[in-house]
C-alpha cells in the first residue's frame, strides 16, 4: 500500500464518519392541552367575607407534561390515573416514574414582592395592572411590599421589578403577556390558556424541545418515531389553592403557598439581597415529573388517559379532565 492509497483510505473513513447515522429519532414535539372550564372555576372567599365564583384562566396553574413508558388507570397506582412506576425502595418515598422528557405550560416567575412568592405563573396576566387587580380585588388578597405597605398600582409593581431585576422593559421581567400572536395587541389571546369557541375548554399549545423518541423494544417490523408503539404523554395541572393562602404569611416559613409544585426556597430560584429586601423568588420542585404524586393533591386535575405517541409528527390534544379529590 503506497502513501496515496493510505490517504485515500483515511479520506474514505473520514467521509463515511460524517454521514454516520446514530439511529436516534430526536424531534421537537408539539400539541395542545385542553382543560375543562370547571378546572378554571373557583369560589373565592375574600378577606372581607364576600364570596364570588370566578372563571378565569388565571385559575389554571402550571401544567406539567411528561413522557412515560405507560399510564395506569384509576386505582392502580393512585386514586387517579397515573404513570407506571419503577420500584419503591426508599422507605415511604414513592417509586420514580422515570420519564423520558417533558415540559410545562406556565412557569413560576420571580414575583418582585415576597408577598407573591410562589403565587405568580407566567403568561397568566396581561400586564401589571391586571396582576395587581387580580390579587387585590378579584381574590381580595392584597399585595404588600417589602415595607408591609399595600401595593395598589401596576406601575409601582413594574418599577419594583425593574429595580430588583435591573430590567428595562416588561419582556425582561417575563411576568406578563407579550404579543405572541402578532396581532398588534396584547390581550387574552396572548395568554397560555385561551377559551375555545365552544366555551367549554381552555386550550394551550405546548412544545417539547429536542425530545429523543423511545419506543417498545419488543416491537417488530415498525419504524421508530413513525409507527412503533411509543411513549405516553400524560400530565396534570396544579390548581392554585387560594383557601390555603388566605392565612398567608411569609413564603418559605411553613405557611401554605398557592401551589404545591412551587418550592419557595428552591436553591435555583432568584435570591434577592438588597439593603431593604431579602428573599428567594421560588421555583419548581425538582422531582415533579419523576414523582408527581408527591405534588398532586385535592383539587388538581390530571389527564384521565395518556396519549401514546407513536408518530412524532402527530400533534396530539391532551385532555386534562380528571379532578383529584
Amino acid at each position: 500500500m503506497n502513501r496515496t492509497t493510505l490517504l485515500a483510505v483515511v479520506a474514505l473513513v473520514g467521509s463515511t464518519g460524517c454521514r454516520y447515522d446514530e439511529g436516534l429519532v430526536v424531534e421537537n414535539l408539539t400539541g395542545t392541552v385542553k382543560i375543562p372550564v370547571a378546572a378554571g372555576t373557583q369560589t373565592v372567599v375574600r378577606a372581607d367575607g364576600s364570596t364570588e365564583e370566578l372563571t378565569d384562566s388565571k385559575l389554571i396553574g402550571p401544567v406539567f407534561l411528561g413522557l412515560y413508558s405507560g399510564v395506569d388507570p384509576i386505582n392502580v397506582q393512585e386514586a387517579y390515573p397515573y404513570p407506571t412506576r419503577g420500584p419503591q425502595f426508599r422507605g415511604d418515598e414513592p417509586g420514580d416514574t422515570y420519564p423520558y422528557g417533558g415540559t410545562t405550560v406556565g412557569d413560576f416567575r420571580f414575583p418582585c414582592f415576597e408577598d407573591l412568592v410562589c403565587k405568580t405563573v407566567s403568561n397568566r396576566f396581561l400586564d401589571f395592572d391586571d396582576l395587581v387587580d387580580w390579587f387585590n380585588n378579584a381574590l381580595g388578597d392584597s399585595i404588600t411590599d417589602a415595607a408591609g405597605q399595600p401595593v395598589e398600582t401596576g406601575d409601582y409593581m413594574r418599577q419594583t421589578c425593574y429595580d430588583l431585576l435591573d430590567a428595562a422593559n416588561d419582556e425582561e421581567v417575563r411576568l406578563t403577556a407579550t404579543d405572541r400572536n402578532d396581532d398588534g395587541a396584547v390581550n387574552e389571546l396572548d395568554l397560555d390558556f385561551v377559551l375555545d369557541d365552544s366555551g367549554e375548554f381552555f386550550v394551550a399549545d405546548f412544545e417539547i424541545l429536542q425530545q429523543e423518541h423511545f419506543y417498545d423494544q419488543s416491537a417488530e417490523n415498525c419504524e421508530p418515531g413513525i409507527d412503533c408503539p411509543g411513549y405516553t404523554l400524560w400530565g396534570f395541572m396544579d390548581t392554585p389553592n387560594y383557601a390555603a393562602a388566605d392565612d398567608s404569611g411569609v413564603a418559605g416559613e411553613g405557611v401554605a403557598s398557592y401551589f404545591s409544585t412551587c418550592d419557595p426556597s428552591a436553591q435555583n430560584s432568584l435570591d434577592i439581597r438588597e439593603y431593604n429586601v431579602e428573599f428567594q423568588g421560588g421555583a419548581f420542585f425538582r422531582d415533579i415529573l419523576n414523582q408527581p404524586s408527591k405534588r398532586i393533591d385535592g383539587g388538581d386535575w390530571v389527564a384521565s388517559e395518556g396519549y401514546r405517541w407513536d408518530n412524532v409528527y402527530e400533534q396530539p390534544e391532551l385532555l386534562i379532565d380528571f379532578e383529584v379529590f
Binding site: M1, L6, S69, F89, G91, Y98, Y215, Q217, P229, Y231
Partner: protein, 372 residues
C-alpha cells in the same frame, strides 16, 4: 511499508490497553479492597449507640487502605443490620487539607491558612450505602456501587441508583456530593429496616502521594449525624465562629496512622491505634479547638523543629530564651534554634519517617500576591 504497519501496531496495543501503569502499585500488607469485620471477627456490624464524645472515640474503627495496583477502584465495605431507625456513617480519611490563602492575613480566620498544606499526605475516601442485596461489588475482591438496571414498560433499560445513604456534607456544603481530599464526610440512612442487611461502601478515590497508604477512621452510629457534631463540640469546644468544615475534621481524630510493616488494621477504638506523633495536635489546630495553637503557629513551629520536643527540651529552650532576653550578647538561644531547624528536615514527597514527618507544607511553595 513501515507506514502501513504503524496503524496495525497502534491498533494491537490499543486493544490491550488497561491503563494500569498509570496507577500506583500494591503496597505490601495493605489491602486494596477490604471487608471490615466486627471486633469479634463477625461480618455484620451493629451501629453503635452514641451519647457522648467518648463513645465516638471508642466506637470508631481505624484501618489502612492502599492501591489495588490496577485501574480498578479500591476501598472497604462494611455490613450492618438495620435498626429500624436512622443510621449515621461517618468517615474521615488521612488527613486534613486546605487551600493556601495567599492574601496576607487581614482576615483573622484566613490568616492560619496562609501557610501551605502538605499536599502529599492526604487521601480521599468516598462513602455511599444501601441495601446489601443491591450492592454490585464483590466484598473483599472488587468494589461496586448500588446501580442496577430497571426495565420499564417499553423494555428500555433505566439505570437506577439504590443508594440510600448519600453524603450530606461536602467541602462546598453541597448535598449529594463527596467531600474532597483529606476531608471528612458523612451520610445518613434516613431509616433502616429491622432484619435487613445494609452495606456501606468506602471507595478509595485517592491514596496519599507520599506513601500510598491512607489511614481511615469510620464510625457507624445510630441516630443523626448532626448529634455527633454536638457531642464533639461539647467535649472539644470549637472556637466560636468555626465553620462546619473545620469541625467535621475533628469528629474522628488520629486517622493519620503510623505504618506498621505487618499490619494495616482494623483497629477498634481511638486507644487501639498508633497515630503519627503530633497528628492529633495538628488536627486540633486545624479545627480551631479552644486552647489549641493556631494552625499557622503550629506550622511555623513544625518547620523550626520545635514540634515534638520533650518537656525537658522545651524547658531548656525557655531558659535559654530568658537568658537571651536578659543579656543581648547571649547567642545560645539563637544558636539552639538554628540547630533545631537545621537538624529537622521535612519529607513531603516520599514516605515519611519518625523524624521527618511534617503535616504542613513547604513554606517555600508560597506564591506571592498577584502571581497568576
Amino acid at each position: 511499508m513501515r507506514l502501513t504497519l504503524l496503524p496495525l501496531v497502534l491498533l494491537a496495543s490499543g486493544c490491550d490497553y488497561s491503563g494500569d501503569f498509570l496507577f500506583p502499585g500494591v503496597v505490601d500488607n495493605v489491602p486494596g479492597v477490604l471487608i471490615i469485620p466486627t471486633e469479634d471477627g463477625g461480618s455484620v456490624h451493629e451501629p453503635a449507640i452514641i451519647t457522648n464524645y467518648e463513645l465516638v472515640q471508642e466506637s470508631t474503627i481505624y484501618f489502612e487502605l492502599g492501591p489495588t495496583g490496577t485501574a480498578a477502584l479500591g476501598g472497604a465495605t462494611l455490613d450492618f443490620a438495620g435498626t429500624g431507625d436512622r443510621v449515621c456513617v461517618w468517615v474521615d480519611p488521612e488527613m486534613a487539607t486546605w487551600n493556601q490563602a495567599i492574601r496576607e492575613g487581614l482576615d483573622p480566620f484566613l490568616r492560619p491558612f496562609s501557610y501551605p498544606d502538605n499536599i502529599f499526605d492526604d487521601g480521599d475516601i468516598d462513602v455511599i450505602g444501601g441495601r446489601s442485596v443491591f450492592y454490585t461489588g464483590s466484598p473483599g475482591v472488587a468494589m461496586g456501587d448500588f446501580v442496577l438496571q430497571y426495565e420499564d414498560d417499553l423494555g428500555n433499560e433505566v439505570p437506577i441508583s439504590f443508594v440510600e445513604c448519600t453524603p450530606a456534607q461536602s467541602q462546598f456544603d453541597s448535598p449529594n456530593s463527596h467531600a474532597g481530599k483529606g476531608t471528612a464526610e458523612y451520610c445518613e440512612f434516613a431509616t433502616t429496616e429491622l432484619g435487613v442487611t445494609y452495606t456501606v461502601a468506602l471507595q478509595t478515590w485517592s491514596t496519599p502521594l507520599d506513601d500510598d497508604r491512607v489511614g481511615v477512621g469510620v464510625l457507624l452510629a445510630q441516630g443523626s449525624c448532626r448529634d455527633i457534631i454536638g457531642y464533639a463540640d461539647a467535649e472539644l469546644t470549637f472556637n466560636q465562629g468555626t465553620v462546619d468544615q473545620q469541625q467535621l475534621e475533628c469528629i474522628i481524630r488520629g486517622e493519620s496512622i503510623k505504618p506498621d510493616a505487618g499490619d494495616a488494621g482494623p483497629w477498634y477504638g481511638y486507644d487501639a491505634i498508633s497515630s503519627w506523633e503530633n497528628s492529633v495536635e495538628f488536627e486540633n489546630s486545624y479545627c480551631f479547638i479552644q486552647d489549641s495553637v493556631k494552625l499557622d503557629e503550629f506550622c511555623d513551629a513544625e518547620i523550626a523543629g520545635l514540634i515534638g520536643l520533650s518537656d525537658e527540651e522545651l524547658e531548656e529552650l525557655a531558659e535559654l530564651e530568658a537568658a537571651a532576653e536578659d543579656d543581648e550578647n547571649d547567642t545560645r538561644y539563637a544558636e539552639e534554634l538554628d540547630r533545631l531547624a537545621a537538624e529537622h528536615e521535612c519529607e513531603w514527597r516520599g514516605a515519611p519517617e519518625e523524624d521527618n514527618r511534617c503535616f504542613c507544607g513547604d513554606p517555600d511553595d508560597t506564591p506571592q500576591q498577584g502571581a497568576g
